[in-house]
């Protein structure tokens, strides 16, 4: 049996391998059509142009925030599944924003809690993405790609005592463009949503009643420089 196999001329063997290879490629093509669209959000975020608030603020990014991703599996074969990874871009944007918004800005060594050895700061910000939704033209029949996010921010003391907690939304959209892929458009919409989040944070930070009271307590003479 093995001998007969050895004695088979090389041409049909090659043809067989080519056939197998073609079948594999075809299978891969079919399988790739079923795979999820994955977008790792990438963008450049400018620092804010504003008078820095005279505060030393620390930030603690929970793991689910710094590795944030959104997964939406298709419910029927005609739809496509999506995985949108925003974690890295989130950290990049918030670091840039807070670095330009506060006089001093630091990454905390550990989550704020009683007895934890951490840097001395006025307060610690802890961001969370509670919800993310997206829409692409094939779903909505409107020729824009959209990303909507709901954030929850905690401002706590170094020992973890709560100072304020508030919600904030962000929205980004981008029009359909000729020859622009769905992935590129979703990425751009996410970048727009992150920019919007930064803008919303800047204008709303001092307007949250609990925060306004806290700011009045620690920097009462700076009302005029608050955005």
């Amino acid at each position: 049996m093995s001998g007969s196999m050895i004695s088979v001329p090389s041409t049909p063997n090659t043809a067989g391998r080519a056939l197998k290879l073609a079948a594999c490629i075809l299978a891969l093509v079919f399988l790739s059509a079923c795979g999820a669209n994955q977008v790792v959000v990438e963008g450049k975020f400018p620092p804010p142009l504003m008078t820095r608030l005279p505060l030393t603020i620390g930030v603690w990014y929970p793991d689910e925030f710094s590795a944030h991703e959104f997964t939406d599996m298709a419910k029927n074969p005609r739809d496509s599944s999506w995985v949108v990874k925003t974690g890295e871009a989130q950290v990049q944007m918030w670091d840039t924003l807070w670095g330009g918004m506060f006089q001093n800005f630091e990454h905390m060594r550990a989550a704020p809690a009683p007895g934890v050895l951490n840097q001395m700061v006025d307060a610690v910000l802890i961001p969370h993405v509670d919800e993310l939704q997206y829409a692409i033209p094939t779903q909505t029949h409107v020729k824009v790609y959209e990303i909507w996010m709901r954030y929850r921010f905690e401002l706590v003391s170094v020992t973890g005592e709560p100072i304020a907690e508030w919600m904030m939304t962000a929205y980004g959209k981008t029009p359909t463009a000729f020859l622009q892929s769905d992935k590129k458009a979703v990425n751009l919409a996410a970048v727009m949503a992150l920019r919007d989040a930064g803008a919303n944070f800047v204008i709303s930070f001092t307007r949250v009643p609990e925060l306004s009271d806290w700011l009045d307590g620690i920097m009462p003479t700076t009302r005029e420089i608050r955005p």
Binding site: P47, P48, T51, V142, V144, T174, R195, A199, I203
Partner: protein
Amino acid sequence: MIGAPVAGRVLRAALVSALAWLLTACVAATVDEMVFNEPTEGIGEASIVILGRRHASDYDTEPDFVECVGDHIASRDKEIQVIGELEFINSLYPWFEPRTAPLHPQDIDRLLLQEPVAQKLIELKTEYMIWIDGSTVRTNSSGSLACGIGPGGAGCFGFGTWGDEANYEAVIWDFTDKAEVGRISTTASGQSYMPAVVIPIPIIAPVQGTACDGIGDQLLEFLSSKY
């Protein structure tokens, strides 16, 4: 002897121009203009910025269109310095994001309360800010086109047609007087065709380009001393 190649080149250029003309479908366009306080000597060494409005939920003013209008002005009057849209909104982040952008000329005063923003605007020598609002939409499409590939070659057969409509309005703000000094609107529509007998021949109506030229020419009349 030298005349023959030159004549050949002229003939080729004429043929290419004729082909380009034949492959361009017709566009109907109207431009309305209403301006006050036109600068009689042009804008001198000052600069202008052209920005797209992105407040509507169902469309976005295309960044390409905003860039097209800016290029149209800058290429026809080299003395006018046009600041790029992205450069401007990045350098003034987050004050010109869709959420925070001023909606009325009087809102500029609120922006100037931020010392770094006021400094940046002086640095950029921004004399006029032009807001463009609108979009180009597909109004209809019909026909069918089928393409195939086989061992003997590839080809397409069929006929497709579609209509586009562009609707844009440019509002001119005088930065020094913090007042609206002009309003230009343009509409353009056209029908594109794609007959295919083996090779598809696109006969495209340059609807957005015509709208860009219309708005650009009117803005030049307002801003430039040469027009």
